[in-house]
Symmetry: C2
């Protein structure tokens, strides 16, 4: 099993050259975010990931968590690692300075979070959920709740959770039945929530649950759901821990992967009712929850990048060591390491090219989010918000769908030993498999994309993006470079496919939403593949423009990888286009009984 080494050079390339770090650093409030500081942070984080989190990843998988009488015990080493994580300030790093965080831009924290997710995905989920809960309280909580919970949640002394799902309410949260009955300044919550990530554990002294529930007089459907903060231990006015709240972990799930992360069934109010406090307005809880979910969706997309990188490093390490067979065509000489065999190279290039495109997309989107928040120009903020909204479901859906394939390829590179658990390649695929499901399945992301992000603005955001791509096409053609010309040809095919599919979607969305929905996932993949191709093309442009004396090998690799993407990955768009534009009828034609 290879260890994880954070690809800081590649991360900096994506940040600086593709996501526009300089622009982010120039935003008001980011005066202290210098390139030196960022490099220092990435180096420190890289060391923490390699030295503390990566070494306990496999045992987290092997041991999993255990639940006894409502107490959940994590795998050996997790509790100690979490203490170090908190002490070193890593939990606070992305948080607001108002509550003890470092207030770094999303672009920077995204690179750091990628390291946690790559080195130990199960572990990283605890911080991710806490960050989501922090965002919800910070944006929608009362001043009292902010002061009461946020400092300790930002630091990581307390962790947070998102309690959405019930057995009858998964993708459809309108079916939530958990009850909240008013009682003085608080509510009594009762109901059972499932799939609660890090819902109970032994790493922190308190756990702050964000819970969706219904008031007694709430209207039916999504407009009758409210958000509550429900701490495991009640918190006294002086900030000390009060009595245990009426909530308990009933059991934890036996999952395919992320064994190190407890997935809890949470029972609220089995006795007198759990005490909870309303967050935001009554019946507006879903909107508040979306504050958490959009962030979480980007982060799960980033998980796709991270676990793919981890699988790539594992496969690459094996391919460089494993000796088997002579080079193809050779009739004498000894066997060589398998990285010399064309099909192994093809698999590694496929992993590498997709990962670089995915990372570029995730970082680009994080930078859009930073600008949407802090850019001095209102029009620019609006444009960047539209881009963030458009790309969030794509980062989530496309990067995670890719991750399932890439981690599977990682096993394949190993041959037979890849299927043996001790090798470590299986865990990455098993861990990756959840990413296309939680925080909204790929299908849910795709419906959000075609509805709220494409049809609602009549394709304006997509055409904004297409405009950027066309500018890149002009630059590629103007460069007079053979590789760039090939890349331009492929990207051009991609933009045409995207325009065609978008036009078709807009033409049909209102009058035939089922046909539009039949092509939603292919559309999400099409948009991801083309946008990834655009960013790879920009990487090639940057590389081609560098003087031959500057890190020439690094930039040569960037060009080759972009060309690989253009020749092997981008051509997939034509099948997506066909599925969207031609294929709705055959999706919908069959009677249920004929399946």
């Amino acid at each position: 099993m290879t260890t994880y080494v954070a690809p800081t050079r590649d991360m900096l390339f994506a940040m600086n050259e593709l996501a526009g770090f300089a622009e982010i650093a120039a935003l008001p409030g980011n005066e202290e975010v210098t390139p030196d500081l960022v490099e220092a942070i990435l180096d420190e984080a890289a060391r923490f990931a390699t030295e503390v989190l990566a070494p306990i990843n496999a045992q987290g998988d092997r041991q999993g968590c255990t639940c006894k009488d409502g107490h959940v015990t994590t795998a050996d080493g997790f509790k100690a690692a979490y203490s170090k994580f908190v002490e070193s300030g890593w939990n606070a790093m992305p948080g607001s300075p108002d509550f003890g965080g470092q207030g770094l831009p999303s672009l920077v924290s995204t690179a750091v979070l990628e390291m946690w997710k790559a080195s130990n995905m199960a572990f990283s989920l605890c911080q991710m959920l806490t960050l989501g809960a922090v965002a919800a309280i910070a944006h929608h909580g009362s001043e009292r709740d902010r002061q009461r919970y946020l400092p300790k949640m930002v630091s990581g002394e307390w962790t947070g959770t998102m309690n959405l799902t019930e057995s009858q309410a998964g993708s459809d949260l309108s079916a939530v039945r958990t009850k909240a009955v008013p009682e003085g300044d608080h509510y009594r919550i009762s109901g059972t929530k499932i799939f609660i990530t890090w819902g109970e554990h032994d790493m922190a002294e308190n756990i702050i649950h964000m819970v969706l529930a219904r008031l007694p007089d709430a209207p039916e459907g999504t407009k009758g759901i409210s958000l509550f903060v429900v701490p495991k231990f009640l918190v006294n006015d002086d900030g000390s821990l009060g009595p245990r709240n009426d909530l308990i972990c009933a059991s934890i799930e036996h999952k395919m992967g992320i064994h190190g992360s407890p997935t809890a069934v949470m029972a609220f109010g089995e006795n007198e009712g759990a005490i909870g406090y309303l967050v935001g307005e009554a019946n507006r809880g879903l909107g508040c929850m979306f504050t958490m979910m959009n962030h979480a969706r980007l982060n799960v997309g980033l998980e796709g990048v991270a676990i793919s990188e981890r699988a790539y490093q594992q496969a690459l390490g094996y391919a460089r060591e494993r000796i088997q067979s002579r080079p193809i065509g050779a009739t004498s000489g000894g066997p060589v390491t398998i990285i010399h065999h064309p099909d192994v190279r093809r698999m590694l290039m496929d992993m590498k090219a997709r990962i670089e495109a995915m990372r570029a997309l995730a970082y680009f989107t994080a930078a859009q989010m930073d600008k949407a928040q802090s850019h001095p120009d209102a029009a620019e903020r609006q444009k960047c918000q539209a881009m963030t909204d458009l790309l969030t479901p794509v980062v989530k859906g496309w990067c995670t769908e890719n991750a399932v394939d890439i981690t599977s390829t990682g096993i394949q590179v190993h041959g037979g030993v890849g299927f043996i658990e001790e090798t470590g390649a299986c865990q990455h695929m098993r861990d990756a498999r959840i990413t296309t499901i939680y925080e909204g399945t790929t299908g849910i992301q795709a419906n959000d994309l075609i509805g709220r992000k494409v049809a609602r603005d009549q394709g304006a955001a997509v055409h904004l993006l297409l405009g950027e791509m066309n500018a890149t096409l002009v630059a590629l053609e103007a460069a007079g470079d053979k590789d760039l010309r090939v890349i331009a040809g492929s990207l051009q095919g991609g933009t045409v496919a995207l325009e065609t599919a978008t036009g078709w979607l807009l033409s049909i969305y209102e009058r035939d939403p089922a046909s539009a929905a039949a092509g939603a996932v292919p559309y999400l993949k099409l948009l991801g593949t083309v946008t990834g191709g655009w960013l790879m093309a920009r990487a090639a442009l940057v590389a081609a423009a560098k003087p031959a004396t500057t890190e020439s090998e690094f930039y040569r690799a960037k060009k080759v990888t972009a060309r690989f993407y253009a020749e092997h990955v981008l051509p997939e768009v034509h099948a997506f286009r066909a599925a969207i534009v031609d294929g709705a009828g055959s999706v919908l034609a069959l009677d249920e009984s004929l399946f």
Copy 2:
């Protein structure tokens, strides 16, 4: 968890209408193989699969096997199920009548084997390996060995294994080091073999190992490897069991899937050397082993079909029961079963269409094998052998690569509960993951395909197949049916892509084998996708020609499914073509240090 119900109607359709059962039944030696008999066999097998094998599949996964002091204990129920399997004559069904088998054509046994693999893949491997060992002894063994081993192996009282791999000799068997030293009429074998499926277990009284080893004076490389039969218990002249041979199971592997099937490390000759008997000529063992491997490769391809079918049934069952959300576009009314949601239908249609194409390809190939063996006309036999040789790596490679994706889609249909092990969907994906690896990885299949099956005969076999496809295109156009015209258009695109890619491969194979190899896997997938599309088009032709009164719904579904394949799956060929024809350079360009 749904149980498995064999899709006998679909199987009969593929056998009768696509693989040409009537022609197979008319071959000499198949006089007794009537349609009634075949239906009766399938019905009986279906019952056995549902009632005996499917119920122990999940516990095989949960419990796995245990190894203590060389003894391997299988999961609860496996031993009893195997006894029933043998008593009912199922093990003998595909075997030669010379040794107690039923001598059924491959086409028929293929359908039956699909049921074992679908209902309990781990269990089915034991028979598969035994069949391989039977084939090797039947074709290459001495008369004494045939009489000594085959009757009990055909019946299943004894099981068989294939001992090829050593830790340094995986894909490259030339590196085998296990030794065989002559001693009288036998040899003393010593060495360690790994990844031995059902290498040790408690279900049969004897295990007959087929072992690759080197004689003391053997030349280096693949031309110095011999095949030996090495029984666990030596067999006396009267057929009774003699003393234990010097071989032992050193350990079993902890794998991602097929937990019910023990994967053994086998230590031969730790004391005086295990007694083995030469099979076939000295130093020609690899050729003898290929007798077993070609059969096994088809069977592993069939495993891809089977486990995909199992995953489809599981997902379909869930999609028909799980209620969530209103139909898309509806603003009133209650939630519906998720099969009504377009993206869920798209996933189910994708699984269904690919499975039908894969089954058609596997059964078609089995029929070619039957004709290659027994057709009275020598030219026809030769043609069918060429087709069998061409398609064997495609069945193995394409059906299994699809199976990884399809079983993953099966999880996705479930949403969150798909990731929970108790649901049963994960097991199918974990089980499927080995199929692209064992019996030769997809990369190995693809190199075999482009080298021995395409370049060696200068594309003759591919062009034979293309000729058949072109005839189907003419028939599709002539039918004057809108669906068939759409299907024809897509298939035409596929044949052009296949011709282009084949021409390119032939032009480059000799002078630049590395570039050819860089496109080998995309070429295998291209050939599989187009051939699958051709068989689906033939299915649609058959369906369109049926009178409206005959099973009209069944045939309507066949047409819809073929159209779905034409619109959603076949268009993938263009990306494969681009990767092959344009993409070799970028696969090979990067220095090893730049990965």
